[in-house]
Amino acid sequence: MLDFSILIEYFPDYMEGFLNTIQASLIALVGSFILGTIIAVFRITGIKPLQWLGTAYVEFIRNIPILIVVLFFYLGLPSLGARLDGFQAGTLGLTVYTSAFIAEAIRAGILSVPKGQMEAARSSGMSYIQSMLHVILPQAIKLVIPPLSNQFINLIKNSSVLTIVAGLDLMYFADSINGDSYATVSTYIFTGMFYLILTLPMSYGSHVLERRLAKSS
């Protein structure tokens, strides 16, 4: 049933898609972490317009499918005068979508740091941004790591939507391999294995990490 000659014959195609999936996921990870942190800080500054902006962003993005975000960059932007290829639009969409979830995780982490920490930092003469960077964020990051690692697994899985905008990811190459070989079952089982190579170790790692952090606190 499982035809290994497919794996051997189309290995270069699998590899190209695999590497593109990793690349898109890494770019989106870094981008969504930066964007997510900014949004999270917006939501807790106490400056009302920034707070509203952050809340609206997170609530809106979290409640719509990722496909809409990706299609906005792929089909919507050209009518505003910017043309992106499938990989760029897909990665950008992935970044924006994931940033909303990361913002929530980081906000929860920051809020769980006791208030006295900020007050102590401020009264020893640090500015708001300094106390954020040197006192609050380093403590929050420990609580944020488990949900963040889950988000990264989701990110890798979600990167498969790139295939809908011809983003040259693993699923996209699977489609072209399938079109060439007609061995649908084998083609997609191997594709699934490539995804599992990425996600299973991360999932296992995050379990271990979670247990260790739970023990240490």
Partner: protein, 221 residues
């Protein structure tokens, strides 16, 4: 951008038909995945030998695969496999419901298992020592308390499911996103108005769900 053209009566009607299909598929997938997920979660909580280990492997694999792959596989690869001479073929909506159910049941089983595990051991010991059987303890003591804690993660899983139905565009299921894509293909001035409208539709449905969940949360705690 052409808002008036994009929001013509036929287009709106076509989108509403898509929404109908989205809700139809999501409704059945929610019910089936909840039932299957509960059974799988309870089996793993009770550590029933063999069955529990097999489920652990299946759940871990399903949870770590992209849903897009599962939807595609169920629709196009499964009909090519013969299970002891029997071949399964589904219509597109049925295939989408099966794929969504498989994936979400795996997610829900983990929520159920975590919810049951969060009930203090003393509760189980107390119930057992006052003469309740294993199943009675589960039914009368652990499940009622556990279910309450499961409500928020379950609702957010159902919201994910509703969003995830949009991935069935890959098998051309005639749901909201698919119909939106057809309309957007008619005219290059349509994408932004249509995407905004479709985003608002998903947002309203999902945000309502999350408000209900918050209401339930404050009431039960």
């Amino acid at each position: 951008m052409d808002f008036a053209g994009a929001y013509s009566p036929e287009n709106l009607k076509f989108l509403m038909e898509g929404l109908g299909m989205t809700l139809y598929v999501a409704f059945f997938a929610i019910i089936f995945s909840f039932v299957i997920g509960c059974f799988a979660g309870v089996i793993r909580y009770m550590k029933i030998p063999v069955l529990s280990q097999v489920l652990a492997v299946v759940v871990e694999i399903l949870r770590n695969l992209p849903l897009l792959l599962i939807i595609f596989f169920v629709q196009f690869a499964v009909p090519q496999i013969s299970f002891f001479g029997i071949q399964f073929k589904f219509t597109i909506p049925v295939g989408a419901i099966i794929a969504l159910t498989l994936f979400e049941a795996a997610m829900i089983s983990e929520i159920v298992r975590a919810g049951l595990n969060s009930i203090p051991k003393g509760q189980v010991e107390a119930a057992r020592s006052s003469g309740l059987g294993t199943v009675q303890t589960l039914w009368h003591i652990v499940l009622p308390q556990g279910l309450r804690r499961m409500v928020p993660p379950l609702v957010s899983q159902f919201i994910s499911l509703l969003k995830d139905t949009s991935l069935a565009v890959i098998v051309a299921l005639a749901e909201l996103m698919h119909n939106a894509q057809i309309i957007m293909g008619q005219n290059h001035n349509y994408p932004i108005p249509i995407l905004l409208l479709v985003a608002m539709i998903y947002f309203v449905v999902n945000y309502t769900l999350s408000l209900i969940s918050r209401r339930l949360e404050t009431r039960t705690v």
